[in-house]
Subunit: 517 residues, 2 copies
């Protein structure tokens, strides 16, 4: 077999059987080899940011990596922003980046560039396979590296001659590094803090945001009175009826300051201490309240769920978690507003949904409206690089074909990776996209005020305005093969959501909602 | 004034008065400062690849840099592919990349990343302004660095506190490094080769592809019988009636081998020796014919036009250049084909047009069809990173508002930066986009054969297929605010082109053309 065949066979043997792909000439042997390994599914994306974002969404739902197939340095470059988000989500991903044949690189052909430097930017695992013999060994190592706790980006650079050369052999799967167990003394010390009677908040992230971790935290809070919070941008948060409802820390520093007001101890498990998303003149970057002491129960690469469960046994034995009751908002009526659209979502959310949330400013009221809806997963914008929603929803739908995926998508962010809608149509994925069309970079209007930028005149305002011309997302979606409708009232949105959920395949709803700011 | 104000004022004083922008929170003081410097025009892009590609197109036509405004590492990441093309075009560009405030970086907030590493990938000029006082000095240096011969990418990383801090002062323009003059001995040595009677080819690139250089080369060929060629992907080629017609070297190695067959000497001016775009099993990478000797008349950072003119005086005194006669193809009729659509372009091209050519496989016959059309400039895909056409056309139209811009755009490549159509509408730019809609990555079908990839089955073919669903570029364009029509016959294409050229503002024509392969 050639290098490409050994690579794909090794990936499949290690459990990686989806490859989100945007290939070019240097990847043609990989493409040709797909037919020799029937277990590998190739999913075509029309832009690399869609490919890498899909791999992120897939990883968050499948709990294992997909591969990506990218075309040299510019292809990886186009994929970097969503790989940045994936890095912040600790999503395991295996990038296969084609490169020129080893002997061709010295000629500095037009597409030549320092791929290793770009891959290094992701601070994960990077390896270049210089020979056919290395390819499968490196591939097995890449899959393991991607899954080393807590998960990371592994990038395998594949020269064309290592791909097309004969003499490849498959390589056996390698066991990734499991999360480290937290020692008893650490758990005991945190238990003592919780029993001290002083004001404590517990902040969780990573795997602790799934049901088992949430139940442990809920028990701890119920038994000790400690406040508990989920990190601001969890990679995947389980919530809804029957799951403990733990609030997320706010995006704005002012919200966090309010949420953590008065605490003396901050216990963190599977996350880091809260910091301001951006710096603002005269405002703090570190959001740990002054005088509060930080206690690390579990680092991000440790077994945070086990540690929280052990901690619950010490401080909350016999205490049950507080489960969210089923409760939906009433269906609102009349024109859509920043306030009422979230109630339509909460009132209609189907069972077992996945929400890919890139609603940004439009979604400030969403958590309340969906708190008592049927249980669901929420995926969030972990790295702040906008344009993540459509791709992540796409990958989530590939990972969970039987679950409805709802992508709540601000208009400004949608345009970065809009072509990914075509992949949803091409693969007939069950994704319902709701464009929150406020015709502005509304978050920047807010941020322009918050950074204290004075003298904002018409030129500044024009740079945050997406009207003139207004975008018509119905036409854009239809042009990319996704059926679409427009909603201007709550009733229309509810009706169109019901229709979209009922019919297989992708749908888009262009929801016209005035900006909050 | 604050740092941002000092930056913009310094840019304008140095001649940089257009800023293609996709800002975020860390750039809000820059945005606010725009109103304090009326000479600076901010042009909003909805995706960074559109912003950087527009800056490339602007530079190629304006012969001076525009600025870009990008949001931290992910924003620069999204812009890298078209900056790669700009690097290969030697286009001068000044990137302003916002970063977190200096004191905020240590908190590793979600958008934190190693911006310097990404900027370094472009192999141009990179500087981080750590204080307000540095900002204007660095900005003046950046504008000069971008224009150092032959032109390059300069990236200024701007921490938010260096932008918002007070105490900034403007800085005077700095003179860039001019092209080095080629010494007489070098010119004389090449003249001797040309007079030797042995078979010579002259290959030109860079500024030599403008009229003055083309006239010199044409005289040299006419007087000495030397073959002459333009590099395969010139950043800007002047051609058409009244300009000497010098063929470009082909994209395929086989074409180049044919073009250079039998030569004993290859003289290069402002370009490098030809290499294969990709490596192919068993085929050469270096396309200089075996036994041929290479003579460098002018390096890319030297005055290649001056050297060619001096050379022409030595070998072709009294010889006139051979100018292309005016000659248009007849207007074809019937269904559009890969063969006839180029004749429609040639038959209808308006005076003084700029063609942004990303026609790829569909455009193989274009040079012949437009050779005798009214004089025009052709901009090409210098770096091979697809998705360049729509942005480059946009920037070219900003640089030359009075010239018609024609973007010949393959469907596959269009999707990478499609949102840039909105900027054309927002700015009412005179761009006519013709989508060459063959519903396939046709070039990859060809490449799949050329790399010798065996056993291509249905999965491989599916990854190169853009049908299912077919894309409707009329709807996509209208959704982004650009009026659009569909052409399936030559008559329709001709009629729609005439209408588009006649009416100000952008237009798109979705031309349905079967694939060549």
């Amino acid at each position: 077999m050639n290098g490409a065949q050994s690579l794909i066979r090794t990936l499949v043997d290690a459990g990686v059987d989806v490859c989100f792909s945007n290939p070019g000439t240097s990847e043609m042997h990989f493409v040709a080899a797909l037919d020799s390994v029937p277990e590998m599914r190739g999913v075509l994306g029309l832009f690399e940011g869609g490919v890498t974002g899909a791999a992120d969404g897939y990883a968050r739902i499948a709990d294992k990596p997909a591969a990506t197939l990218l075309h040299l340095g510019p292809g990886l470059g186009n994929g970097l922003a969503n790989l940045h988000n994936a890095r912040r989500a600790n999503s395991p991903i295996v990038n296969i980046v084609g490169d020129h044949a080893t002997y061709h690189k010295k000629y500095d052909a037009p597409l030549e560039s320092d791929i290793d430097a770009l891959a290094g930017w992701l601070k994960g695992w990077v390896k270049r396979s210089e020979t056919v013999a290395e390819v499968a060994v490196d591939a097995a190592a890449a899959v393991a590296a991607a899954q080393d706790a807590p998960g990371r980006i592994a990038t395998l650079i594949l020269p064309a001659d290592a791909s097309w050369g004969e003499g490849g052999e498959t390589s056996s799967p390698v066991t990734p590094r499991a999360p480290k167990k937290v020692d008893e003394a650490t758990v005991k010390a945190v238990a003592d803090i919780l029993k001290s009677g002083e004001s404590v908040a517990v902040l969780i992230g990573g795997r602790a945001c799934r049901e088992e971790g949430l139940r442990a935290v809920s028990r701890i809070s119920a038994a000790t009175g400690a406040k508990s919070f989920v990190e601001t941008f969890p990679s995947r948060l389980e919530r809804g009826a029957g799951v403990p409802a733990i609030d997320r820390l706010g995006y704005l520093a002012e919200q966090v300051t309010y949420q953590l007001d008065g605490i003396k101890h901050l216990v963190i498990a599977g996350t880091r201490t809260p910091v301001s998303f951006f710096a603002y003149p005269g405002k703090p970057s570190d959001l740990v309240p002054e005088g509060a002491k930080v206690h690390v129960l579990a680092e991000v690469d440790e077994d945070m769920v086990g540690a929280l469960t052990d901690l619950a046994e010490l401080v909350a034995a016999g205490t049950e978690p507080v489960l969210q009751a089923e409760s939906r908002p009433a269906l609102p009526t009349g024109d859509l507003t920043p306030q009422n659209w979230v109630d339509v979502i909460g009132a209609t959310l189907p069972e077992n949904a996945i929400i890919a949330d890139e609603a940004n400013t439009s979604g400030l009221l969403l958590p309340t409206a969906t708190a008592g809806a049927p249980r669901h997963d929420v995926l969030t914008l972990t790295g702040g690089a906008i344009g993540y929603g459509i791709p992540v929803a796409t990958g989530a739908a590939v990972a969970a074909p039987d679950r409805p995926v709802l992508n709540l998508q601000s208009d400004g962010s949608a345009l970065y990776t809009i072509s990914t809608l075509w992949t949803q149509a091409h693969e007939n994925l069950n994704v319902t996209t709701v464009i929150l069309n406020n015709r502005a970079y509304a978050i920047l209007r807010l941020e322009l005020q918050r950074v204290g930028a004075e003298g904002s005149g018409p030129k500044a305002k024009a740079l945050l305005d997406l009207s003139g011309p207004d975008m018509d997302f119905v036409k854009i979606a239809e042009g990319l093969g996704v059926p679409a409708t427009r909603a201007t009232t709550a009733e229309e949105l509810a009706e169109q959501l019901a229709a979209a959920y009922a019919e297989p395949g992708p749908h888009l709803i262009d929801a016209i909602i005035p900006p909050l700011f």
